[in-house]
Amino acid sequence: MNAGFITGHLQTDVGPVPQISTVWSFQDRLNTMKVRWSIGRMSYRVLPGIYAVGNPDKSSRVFVTGNYKLSFDHLRRALIGIDGWLLVIDTKGINVWCAAGKGTFGTKEVVRRIRIHHLEKLVDHRKIILPQLGATGVSAHEVKHMTGFAVIYGPVKAVDIKHFLEAGLKASDQMRLVTFPLAERLKVIPVDVFYGKYYMLLVPAIFFILSGFYPGGYSVDSAFTVGWKSTLNLYSGYFAGCVITPALLPWIPFRRFSLKGIVTGWLAAFLLLWLNTLGGSIAETTSWFLMMGGLSSFMAMNFTGSSTFTSLSGVQKEMKTALPIQIAMVSVGLAGWIITRFLAL
């Protein structure tokens, strides 16, 4: 584990506590990029426990976060110039919101960490500050009941912590909202792009092989000329769903992500129709519209997982109708396209 952010140790009543830097090193930045792009599948964690920023004492604030290194990094960076304690709980290296949803950032773990690190000896007040998004897993009154520590929910974003402290532990309405602006959406796109993983290579490969067939024979030439077009069509459908749809989310009509996906998938198909890669016959072109629409629709629907406003009930309702339609579109399209390989339609 890379712990280059530890600059020293502080002697306290509960033993030595590592002191950490509030500045990101080059390594921190590089790793943040890598994590965003899912490079290396690294588990990006810090050791749970107590950390010190600045020179805290018994009256200093206690900030709780998960042991996903990005959460930890954002918090320590936001605390520049502040003397405080960090209580890092074990969320298995997962960010606060997701961990709260799963219950790993939860009442039990908060209580357990308060106890094993003897927080009551480290500070003489009885307040801990949690990120608001932890509230999904933590019950403030239960923590209070079990440990005597009152849970104060801080702002959604670590960057607002200073304002929150200056305002006397009050977050403005804006600071309490989870928004989903373009910049945030772009940040989470890589997750969905890599959803397909090796299928993204395997499926085009199969299309290359099938592309060699034409009514009456097989030609390697055709495998290439038709094959690259097929690959382009497939990737366009895929990216229309997992990149274009999230990026343009509020501007694409319909509320259902699956419908938004069909819109972008078909827009891409129209563009390719114009570029002449959807094949020569109506049967072939229709097949591509079905495949691209279905694929894009599925990938767009997948983005509900990265979005910050879709409810379980809503997604379940959407999937009930969308999934069968997507499967039908892709299979009918695929069957149609394969038939055009062998029959002149």
Partner: protein
């Protein structure tokens, strides 16, 4: 600030005004400003903004709020369907994804 609305009239959020003491905790924890206080009691003002995260129910001392909480994630629901379990979001890609 533009706010997104997903499907309307599907969420399972309910509030029992009898039990509510108007402590405002639900207003504090809700990431979508679903609640407002009216006559010293919380009311569900924007039902369709609710994402069923469950934070309000979990932090209401009076047990006035109920919601069937979970993660609104298609991949998770699909996982559950395939494995025959509840929706589970273990896609294993670390911290970015749930």
């Amino acid at each position: 600030m533009s706010r997104f609305t997903y499907l309307t009239d599907v969420v399972t959020l309910k509030l029992d005004p009898e039990k509510c003491t108007g402590c405002r905790m639900c207003l504090i924890v809700c990431p979508h400003a679903v609640f407002e206080i009216e006559e010293k009691k919380a009311v569900i003002r924007y039902l369709d903004y609710c994402m069923e995260c469950g934070a309000c129910a979990k932090n209401c001392q009076e047990g006035a709020i109920t919601v069937k909480s979970g993660v609104g994630c298609a991949a998770g629901i699909l996982n559950g369907l395939i494995r025959g379990t509840e929706p589970s979001c273990d896609c294993g890609s670390g911290g970015n994804c749930c």
